[in-house]
């Protein structure tokens, strides 16, 4: 059913072939190794566009001082306050509090270390408000020299 006139997006699997079931001419389902079917690319692309939009909005918030850099790290790592709270084992209201620059700048290194661990950045980055790429981008950019 693939239509040849479709414009293919860059493959979402970085060229890794996946396997799927395709009906052969005898009507039997066969496992075939192939690239990703194009609608999958389209909707995956759409999902990332939305994520990037949120990241941009968050950067804007951080740079204008309406949120702490924790807000950027949370958004860039596709988390919300609930998920971040459960990763760092804190109550959610505390995480919400840390999103306020005033509160965040007064955090001790014990609390900061929780965020350092989860976002794979250094304590310096957090306390100076440096915006490092999210976890999934760190290796690709050779940024993983933190530890």
């Amino acid at each position: 059913m693939d239509q040849p006139n479709q414009i293919s997006e860059s493959s979402i699997t970085d060229g890794v072939k996946i396997i799927s079931y395709v009906e052969n001419n005898k009507g039997n389902q066969e496992l075939v190794q192939s690239s990703v079917w194009f609608p999958v690319d389209v909707v995956n692309h759409q999902a990332w566009q939305e994520i990037n939009k949120q990241i941009e909005a968050s950067k804007e918030k951080v740079s204008t001082g309406r949120a702490s850099c924790l807000h950027y790290y949370m958004t860039a790592n596709q988390m919300d306050t609930g998920l971040l709270a459960s990763y760092t084992r804190q109550p959610r209201w505390l995480v919400c509090l840390h999103l306020i620059p005033f509160c965040f700048s007064r955090l001790g290194s014990g609390t900061l270390r929780k965020y350092v661990e989860i976002f794979n950045v250094s304590e310096d980055d957090l306390s100076h408000g440096k915006l490092k790429p999210p976890v999934y981008d760190q290796r690709a950019h050779g940024e993983n020299s933190v530890d």
Binding site: E23, P39, Y136
Partner: protein, 345 residues
């Protein structure tokens, strides 16, 4: 990389076979390793993997949950309950203990299945790294600080540093794996598959046709069609497109084998037809394949809308119609299958 001498863990001879869906792929690989040849589709069918559910009160990234298969872990649970097969399963609180037990099992040359969060696995393509916590894989060895992993959706074995694997095993959020590990301890040499196939089909028919909940099974498909039709006016165009894209992702993204698992189930029916010497199952498989094709036509149209390349005739109403078409095809299919079940001794 640390150079300290690690306990040398013998390399297990584990044959990696790529599959379309992680959970049934792991089940099939583990069973095959134990000497009981089991295809992925067969594991999916016997595990009663096919399903439909539209659960808007569960949100993933703010979007309603749509699922084309049973809850994560269901297939493995059913396989573990097959008479003659015993499965060791454990969840952990403590990270160190979890890794120590994994190492201990590997030292005994046991390939271990793990539930992990995709987001923390460095070998995963960037575009697929979402917070999804029900990904299954098999660890079959350790080399220095790296674990050797047979991830069923990848073409070949991969490696993962221990630090990342710990994070993946203790991912938080919905369906948190809590370090879940499992391996097969006992597998019979021979297995009478007929009762298992019938049971597997029975459980799927039941959930698809006669669930009392309107959000599940054929009713759920129709319910989603009704909701989808109203998305543009209820949510606005942009949010509606996001919702739509999400449905297609759940249906087609890696791990479904295409057509929201419908093709995989058709493959299972074809294999069962051979196993049971019953050609009527082949006809049912053909009906299900056409339902899968119908889901794919829906996905193509949805992708055009998401990409703002709508052709004349593409609209949310037309999409809803497509879904209803899928619903009636599947209703037909499951009723036939139920009839077939009644004829079985």
């Amino acid at each position: 990389m640390t150079k300290e001498p690690m306990g040398r863990i013998p390399l297990t001879d584990f044959s990696h076979l790529q599959s379309a869906h992680c959970e049934s792929g792991v089940a099939s690989n583990l069973l095959t390793h134990k000497g009981l040849a089991f295809s992925e589709a067969m594991a999916f069918g016997i595990g009663g993997g096919l399903f439909f559910g539209y659960l808007p009160f569960i949100r993933i990234n703010g979007l309603p949950l749509v699922t084309y298969r049973t809850a994560a872990g269901h297939i493995l649970k059913r396989i573990g309950k097959i008479p003659g097969i015993t499965m060791f399963q454990k969840r952990f609180r403590d990270r160190e203990q979890a890794m120590a037990e994994l190492d201990a099992a590997l030292e005994q040359a046991i390939p271990v299945g793990l539930q992990t969060g995709v987001y923390w696995l460095p070998y995963f393509p960037k575009a697929l790294r979402f917070h999804f916590n029900a990904h299954n894989l098999v660890v079959y060895g350790k080399d220095g600080g790296d674990y050797l992993i047979s991830d069923p959706v990848f073409p070949g074995p991969v490696r993962c540093p221990a630090d990342d694997l710990v994070r993946a095993r203790f991912a938080s959020g919905a369906l948190a794996p809590k370090g879940k590990m499992y391996y097969l301890t006992q597998v019979p040499k021979q297995l009478d598959r007929k009762p298992l196939i019938i049971e597997g089909i029975g459980s799927v028919c039941k959930s698809m046709l006669s669930s009392p909940f309107p959000l599940i099974g054929i009713k759920g498909i129709r319910f989603m069609a009704g909701r989808l039709e109203k998305w543009p006016e209820r949510l606005g165009r942009e949010r509606a497109d996001l919702h739509l894209g999400h449905v297609v992702r759940m249906q087609e993204e890696i791990g479904t084998g295409g057509g929201g698992f419908r093709f995989m189930y058709a493959a299972f029916l074809q294999e069962s037809a051979e196993e049971l010497q019953d050609s009527s199952l082949l006809d049912y498989a053909a009906v299900l394949t056409s339902a899968g094709d119908s889901w794919r036509r829906f996905a193509v149209m949805a992708a055009r809308i998401c990409k703002n390349r709508a052709q004349p005739g593409d609209s949310y109403a037309a999409l809803a119609e497509r879904i209803r078409e899928c619903g009636s095809l599947e209703e037909d299919f499951f009723q036939q299958l139920e009839q077939w079940l009644k004829q079985q001794p």
